[in-house]
């Protein structure tokens, strides 16, 4: 089976400290869960897959440009949720008419035109996660997506991840929570001290 994204023998050094050390990791169809303690290198693993950190060693292969939704929203605070998502979808050459509907589904119908800095942390997170629907890329990388979400938002996220899997998108989800989406996962990994191993 050909991975849609992978790291081969990858080492990432940040501030003279090897955060990932000779890691080989493949993104295969379905949902891949990645867990591990704080500071283990989970976020760096996703950022390496997204091409956001340089590899000191090894190589990265990826089909297209993965969608990374980080621990922080990655949306410009001076713009509204709608403007942010429209910009990002247009940049990828995706249709932008789906943005408003996606934000409504994520419960942001009444605030989608309000600047991001006037939204709560949970609302900003929802806006960021709505990108799963507006930028349907083959590979989706989610970093602690359940953080800041209430029960309704978490349910919406589970539904969105399942829908993405059904559309044939490969999802990698990093979380420190032990049971979220565990039943849906095709593969589970542990990141610890810069190493990745099957759970």
């Amino acid at each position: 089976m050909t991975p849609s994204a992978s790291l081969h023998d990858a080492t990432v050094v940040l501030d003279d400290h090897p955060v990932l050390h000779r890691v080989t990791f493949e993104v295969l169809p379905g949902l891949t869960l990645v867990r591990g303690p704080n500071g283990a290198g989970k976020t760096t693993l996703l950022r390496a897959l997204a091409g956001l950190v340089p590899l000191a060693r090894g190589r990265r292969q990826v089909d297209g440009a993965p969608l990374l939704v980080g621990h922080r929203p990655m949306l410009l605070r001076g713009l509204s949720a709608r403007a942010n998502l429209t910009f990002l979808a247009a940049f990828r050459g995706r249709p932008t008419h789906t943005v408003a509907d996606a934000l409504v589904r994520w419960g942001l119908g009444g605030v989608m035109d309000r600047p991001m800095d006037r939204l709560s942390a949970g609302q900003r997170k929802r806006a960021a996660l709505a990108r799963i629907e507006t930028e349907p890329e083959p590979v989706i990388l989610l970093d602690e997506p359940f953080a800041d979400l209430d029960a309704d938002g978490a349910a919406r996220l589970r539904e969105s991840v399942r829908a993405a899997r059904l559309r044939g998108q490969d999802v990698v989800l990093v979380t420190h929570l032990s049971d979220e989406l565990d039943g849906d996962a095709s593969r589970r990994f542990i990141v610890d001290a810069g190493q990745v191993r099957p759970a």
């Binding site: 922080r72 410009l76 605070r77 942010n84 940049f91 991001m116």
Partner: protein
């Protein structure tokens, strides 16, 4: 590339419209400097073309650093810039798009500061269109360097100090050319003003191409 850069430029302009703190800081700073010039040099010397144009371009130089630093500050909040960097062509589009948008913002600052200086100092430009031309080319020559150094220092902790330290030495030739060109335009030396304008155009071209070549590899 042009389409993506245009999207980034539009995003930048909308963000600046919603949060005009960079523009406000630059306008306040340039206006204050022009006002202080008239007090420091006195009404006689302040109106001399070389003094007036020198102070004006020093103000615009600082404004270019203020505006570009604030623009990248905004993008670093919530890691917004990473969403673009992660996309194909994103790095080039950030550089080109920010340059285009911040060029418009800096041109606005230069226009307001210029009008303010003309009225406050009671200047009578001998060649007003040449003054405008030098103004436009000066903005185009200064900005690529400010944006370029802001990109290079993107993840540096002491960025607020590092960007000016990197920028100002690189901009000395542009500052000299803009000051000389503006001074010549104010005093009616057409050929001299056009000569300096040509040099500013060359600086703008070189640093724009250099930025587009280096930024994709340098941005982190």
């Amino acid at each position: 590339m042009i389409a993506r850069a245009s999207l980034v430029a539009l995003r930048e302009l909308f963000a600046e419209r919603n949060q005009p703190d960079g523009l406000a800081a630059a306008l306040t700073f340039t206006a204050t400097l022009v006002l202080l010039e008239s007090l420091a040099f006195g009404p006689g010397r302040a109106t001399q073309p070389d003094v007036a144009s020198g102070v004006f371009w020093i103000a615009i130089l600082f404004a270019s650093v203020l505006i570009s630093t604030r623009s990248f500050d905004r993008d670093l909040e919530d890691d917004a810039i990473d969403a673009i960097i992660a996309l194909p062509g994103g790095r080039e589009a950030i550089y080109a798009g920010k340059m285009a948008a911040l060029g418009i913002v800096l041109a606005l600052v230069a226009l307001v500061a210029g009008v303010f200086a003309i009225f406050l100092l009671d200047l009578e430009p001998a060649l007003p269109w040449h003054v405008a031309l030098v103004g436009v080319m000066g903005v185009l020559a200064l900005l690529p360097v400010s944006v370029f150094t802001s990109v290079l220092a993107l993840r540096v902790r002491a960025r607020v100090a590092v960007v000016p330290i990197l920028t100002f030495p690189l901009l000395v030739p542009q500052l000299v050319a803009a000051t000389q060109g503006m001074s010549a335009a104010l005093s009616g030396a057409s050929a001299e003003a056009l000569g300096w304008t040509g040099l500013l155009a060359a600086f703008a071209l070189v640093y724009t191409v250099l930025g587009l070549t280096i930024v994709p590899a340098a941005i982190e």
